[in-house]
Amino acid sequence: MAQRASLLLRPIVLISLSLSLGGIWLVGSLRRPSHHSILQPGAHFSPRSTKSIRDETITWARNWTLILYSQPLSRHGLKVGRYCATLLDHFRERLTVVSIVPGKISQAEIYAIHVAATWPVIADDGQWADEVLGIRGADSAFFFVDPSGIVRFSSDSPAEPEDLRQLAERFLLNEVTYADLGTTASVAVDSHFPSIKVKDLRSWQTRQWPSPQTKLAVVFAARCVECSLPIELAAYRAYEKAHPANDLPDLVFSSQFPPAVLGDAIQGAGLRAPLLQAAAAIPGIEDAWSLDFHTPSEVMVLSLENSNIRRFETWQSFFGKRQPVVGRSDTAVDR
């Protein structure tokens, strides 16, 4: 009996693996290193019903579900959180997203505002994430769960938007596309900047932009929102002070800035320039689904003539000074 019990307790046997792969020369233990604590692929995700910060009851409907666990105001967490809107926009009803934020409801609410969450956000006191997901002390984690409740992928290292996109494609479409990654915007000198819908943040009127008279625009793309916007607007304000009112650029903000965040930043900056918010992704800079949320800079400057691009450059180049580094760079290399 003891021998039989010990046989049952052995690591996963590889007969099933060799059958599925049609023959393997040599196989090794597929037992994962034992110190992994988060819920692993193959495990069953069995949450109890829980409520979001908006008092929605989350019943974990039978759908592909992306569960994101991140600190409320981590730069990386916010970047990834904001990308979820893009994912949901692309996959719509086929994908469910749930964010879990450790800490109090007030912190989760801040997170929800900053990522413009239209999906459930759960404030976790540490117990739920530990019991259900095995998260203990990690700063971030994410899980892809299939409609039957089986974890298909998990990681306790920070996800990149590109990883989430590839995983979503892999699971929902069974085909991964690979972005032709360039780090320059796809605007080009002498190309025509297409007419886009914008909202004037002073008059609240919607109109098309640019006009033939638009000469200069400063585009604030949404790679990193509140961690940089006030500082960059403060730097722009210094430029504005040195220029007359009739020589100021249009300031065009990404559609992804949440209204509350954008409003606070603009109010604090005390600007004179036209303030516009795009209604959709800014063409050439933000509009590729597989752009991986990478833009060459948070801020781009466009010189226009009759809506044709005569010049475009980064913020640093145009204003001639280095932008201050905000926060700590996420450049830890984990190989």
């Binding site: 020369w25 040599l26 992928f153 990149e160 995983l167 892999r170």
Partner: protein, 321 residues
């Protein structure tokens, strides 16, 4: 310092190729961030790929290093997942296993034994059979004070693991070369794992010491969360051995250089790319031995290319030593 003519090895639709190997008329480009190995023909056109993002056998999540054995089997290391997978020339998985701690580099010797840099395992290098059985380990772990003496003794404990991260190369006779990532030192071990010699790349040591004592800024840093989160200057960027008994060892600081040594550890030449703005890592040799393949980037340009560095000596015919 002899300049090496450089040309670009540009791979369409590739994203930050981390390492490029050449075998049997094909190139294998490791794209860690795209979770795959791209297979290219002689014209450097992608003709297929191995793996895609995922957790299953045959899938990858941030594959970190690759190696090829003499039969053309491809070995893929995923440091984050602590997993090694072996693919045959038809891209079928032949082996898959997990290791105990986070590895850094991978090479394969003539017996198809898999060598991993694994300081968390208690030695510089651990050797595995293809079934995942650990066969042996060798190479005493070093300390900061071993390399730099008493002034850095206070860092011995904190950098205990990080300072022992190494890139690996294997010669035809299965002797092993370890190039330390955080210091300009390389060791040679015989096939039984005994240290034969150690060499220091000239003219960089003082700057590296300065980085560790915070009197100098290191141009490039590497951090592994598993190693206590300490950052080390990224100095030793790669090592490769050709069939002629030439050892190529690349280092960087405010520039990138390659030292050529013979297998006895005698310094032969020092090279730098003709475009001195290039920084590169994970050098490998072309099949004919005439080029180094070196993924890298130019200064702060985030676009990563692979550079072909033409070696000044003619390629040799394969022979054993």
């Amino acid at each position: 310092m002899t300049p090496l003519p450089t040309s670009l090895f540009r791979v369409a639709n590739a994203r930050f190729p981390e390492k490029v190997l050449e075998f049997g008329g094909r190139y294998f480009a490791l794209e860690s961030s795209n979770h795959r190995v791209l297979v290219l023909n002689r014209a450097k056109t992608p003709v297929g790929q191995i793996g895609r993002i995922g957790d299953g056998v045959g899938e990858f999540y941030y594959p970190s290093d690759i190696a090829i054995d003499r039969q053309g089997n491809l070995y893929v290391l995923e440091a984050r997942k602590k997993r090694v997978q072996v693919f045959d020339q038809d891209a079928k998985v032949r082996s898959s296993f997990y290791v105990e701690t986070q590895p850094y580099g991978i090479v394969v010797n003539s017996k198809q034994e898999i060598l991993l840099g694994m300081p968390l395992g208690g030695a510089l290098v651990s050797v595995y059979a293809r079934d995942g059985h650990r066969l042996r380990s060798f190479g005493n772990l070093r300390t900061m004070s071993d390399f730099y003496g008493a002034p850095l003794r206070t860092l011995d404990k904190g950098y205990r693991v990080a300072i022992n991260r190494v890139s690996l190369a294997v010669a035809n006779d299965d002797s092993v070369f370890t190039a330390f990532v955080g210091s300009p030192f390389t060791d040679k071990f015989d096939p039984d794992g005994h240290r034969v010699w150690e060499r220091e790349f000239p003219a960089i040591g003082a700057r590296v010491v300065g980085a560790y004592t915070k009197t100098q800024k290191s141009p490039h840093l590497m951090t592994w969360p598993t190693d206590g989160g300490v950052s080390i200057p990224f100095v030793g960027t790669g090592i490769a051995v050709d069939n002629c008994g030439r050892l190529f060892w690349s280092v960087q600081w405010d520039g990138a250089w390659i030292g050529e040594y013979d297998l006895a550890g005698n310094f032969v030449h020092a090279f730098e790319p003709s475009d001195r703005a290039i920084f590169f890592r994970n050098i490998t040799l072309s099949e004919d031995g005439g080029f180094l393949l070196a993924p890298g980037f130019i200064n702060a340009d985030a676009v990563h290319n692979t550079y072909l560095l033409r070696l000044p000596n003619p390629p040799c015919n394969e022979k054993t030593f």
